[in-house]
Amino acid sequence: MSGWCETPAELAELVGGAVRARDRLGARTLGDAAEALGAAAVRWGTDAQLLADLPAVARLSPPLVAAAVRIAAAAIDTRAMRALVEHEFGAGAAGRPAPRGPSLIGHVLAGNVPALGVPAIALGCLVGAAVVVKSGHDDPLSAPAFHRALEAVDPLLAATVVTAYWPGGERSWEEAAFARADLVVASGTDETVAALAGRLGARLLAHGDRVSVAAVSREGLGRDEPLLERLALDIALHDQRGCLSPRAVYVEADGSPSPQAFAERLAAALDAVARELPPGPAGVEERAALRLLADEAEWEPGSRVLNGAGGLVVYDPRPAFRPTTGRRTIRVHAVNNLAALPLILAPGRVECVGLAASGPEVAALVPALRALGVARVCPIGRMQQPALAWPRGQRLPLGSLLGRPGPDVLEVEG
């Protein structure tokens, strides 16, 4: 069921075929699916054509695309997938067919980050559903490439998958893709998902605008590790377009280095990362936004602007979170104590907090971050490398596809 179609009618036919193929899979076990998906991910991760073509459409540099593909492929790991199904569906689940669930799941992917179609397909297959994926504008290539890889290793499973692209909002295509879907998972701006909610109603599982932040305690500052390099990498990956990209870093004020010195070193670290992972091309709107952010910060009392080749760092003595423009732009805020973090951040808007702090400090923060809606806490340097088990929006990755109302999940990665 390869995904290029000329008309909505053709797409509807492909989707119908995928649902029939899913019915034919019968008693195949989830472990089998995990094996096939893992093998496909390995194959997909070395797809030379994809690695050659994706940078131009994604507007990312080739080294950044290579890193993104490497990370996405690593997340589709057979062992991890088996562990995920056992965790969510109980011991022995990998040896059984998928639990009773939706026959067709639709995915509307955001365009900001490449390769989002790969986990979307994997999760759909792991709940035994046929999957139709609508790629985002900036990456119409990854999902079809993964589909081809799956066809090569497991044609029967691949027959349950359809990948397609059409410009967002085109109703006839949307109807063709999702009319039969039990559930449509959509990622994008609040505006995009609100428009879809109006059309899809209760069938929509929406992931709207979210941001991520990093935080460093006094103890975290003193650790003998390349903290700044790791943070710079978290910022640089995907050119800071993702919901897991840190937009601010909160640094406890009386440690060493000081937050201001931390900002200076972070600017240097961003420059160093940019030599390995250069930024992609930017449009005039993005470049203008960057200029305006730097210009405005210059007029803010106490702020300091550190503008380098690798990104823009603004030291901001006020703790309030303020959006940045992306393109590797980050504010460094001084805070007296990380315990204040949950009071500073807006509820329901933060997806991930990257922490450099001691175990007890992390443990103390977790309940308040969970209440704030944070879905993931991880060490700095791993913010952009979520496992497939990432409970996006505090929802269980598989259970949410089965419509199971789960607890508000916060994943703490060690």
């Binding site: 449009g283 709107e285 203008a288 936004a289 960057l290 210009d295 007029w299 423009t325």
Partner: protein
């Protein structure tokens, strides 16, 4: 302040000369004045190593970002008026333009308005679709409209009150004008016109205003009202009001500026020129450069960049303002606004009604 007052008076006189306005000389003189009397701006210039003696050309004067008006009091003396930018959210973060010489603002606003809106010297009834200065004393647009009405209006009526656009009164005035064959000048925020068009569409109303009627709209559709393309706006002006596209003039202004740009059509038609390309023209004391966001150097002709206005009527604050607007040069004398920088907050006159909770 004697010399500042004298400078302002001389500038008012120079603005009156219009065509012989000596931009370069005034730019250098005004920069010297602002450097001496505007401490935050002086500090900003010194950080860049710029002083009056290092400025050889008007293009060398450093631009402040529009955002600076949100963060600092950029005035060369005690203000005669303080105008505030419109915005939907954080009131504290609104820009404030402190204007020490209202006479210069008045001279500039009237000079440009007359040139671009009234090239035929028409003496029309003015209907303003904006709040009056009594209702919004901090609105630079309201102040400008009041001056325009006093200077050029046969009669003046304000159609936006505390409860918003008074649609019924407006419809009655349009019906009166149609019956009498009177020409009107309708001036206001774009969103108010959109509201009028929607009401007329719902009630199946249309008017044919007298010949010579004209429309000036400003601000675009940034608020909660229906979005309307420029072509759609012009079409509605014709079908609803009977005002042809060449009599519909878009005004581009900013609270941070004392000068405005106007759509070229009416002036071009009066001067017997072709109406294309439509572009925003300004008076001789306002120049606009299109700058590359990375380098702040001018972009190549026709390329899109950040709009940087050098408005010498801003004599009492800062003359060179780097905006959040994107645009390009059109023909040798005009510009086109193409959009806003990514993530820039909505602001400007288009939100006047939204702020009042009226649209």
């Amino acid at each position: 302040m004697g010399s500042a007052v004298s400078l302002a008076a001389e500038l008012v006189a120079a603005i009156a000369t219009r065509a012989s306005f000596e931009f370069e000389a005034w730019a250098q003189r005004i920069f010297r004045h602002q450097f001496e009397r505007n401490a935050p701006y002086r500090a900003f210039c010194e950080r860049r190593g710029v002083r009056p003696e290092t400025v050889a050309r008007w293009e060398d004067v450093p631009p402040v970002p529009a955002a600076a008006f949100r963060r600092a009091e950029l005035a060369c003396g005690p203000p005669e008026a303080i105008f505030r930018t419109s915005g939907t959210t954080d009131g504290a973060a609104r820009g404030r333009h402190l204007v020490p010489h209202l006479a210069v603002y008045r001279a500039s606003a009237l000079g440009a308005f007359e040139h671009f809106m009234l090239p035929d010297g028409a003496h029309l009834t003015h209907l303003f679709l904006v709040p009056s200065p009594e209702l919004r004393p901090d609105s630079s647009l309201a102040r400008m409209c009041a001056w325009v009405g006093e200077a050029f209006g046969r009669d003046v009526e304000w159609l936006v009150g505390g409860d918003g656009l008074d649609v019924e009164r407006l419809l009655a005035r349009l019906a009166d004008a149609e019956r009498c064959g009177d020409a009107l000048l309708l001036a206001g925020v774009t969103s108010a016109f959109v509201q009028l068009f929607d009401v007329c569409a719902a009630r199946r109303l249309a008017f044919r205003l007298g010949p010579g009627s004209r429309v000036m709209d400003t601000g675009g559709t940034k608020g909660p009202e229906r979005r309307l393309s420029r072509a759609g706006f012009l079409r509605a002006c014709w079908t609803v009001l009977g005002v042809a596209g060449y009599c519909c003039v878009n005004e581009y202004g900013m609270t941070e500026l004392c000068s405005q740009r106007y759509d070229s059509v009416l002036r071009d038609r009066f001067d017997g020129r072709g109406l294309e390309p439509r572009r925003l023209l300004g008076p001789p004391w306002l120049r606009t450069r299109i700058l590359d966001p990375d380098t702040l150097e001018p972009v190549r002709p026709g390329e899109i960049g950040l709009l940087c206005h050098h408005d010498l009527a801003n004599v009492g604050s800062v003359s060179v303002v780097l905006t959040e607007d994107l645009g390009r040069a059109v023909a040798p004398d005009g510009i086109e606004v193409t959009g806003r920088a990514a993530g820039a907050a909505p602001r400007g006159c288009g939100l006047l009604l939204a702020e009042l909770g009226l649209s």
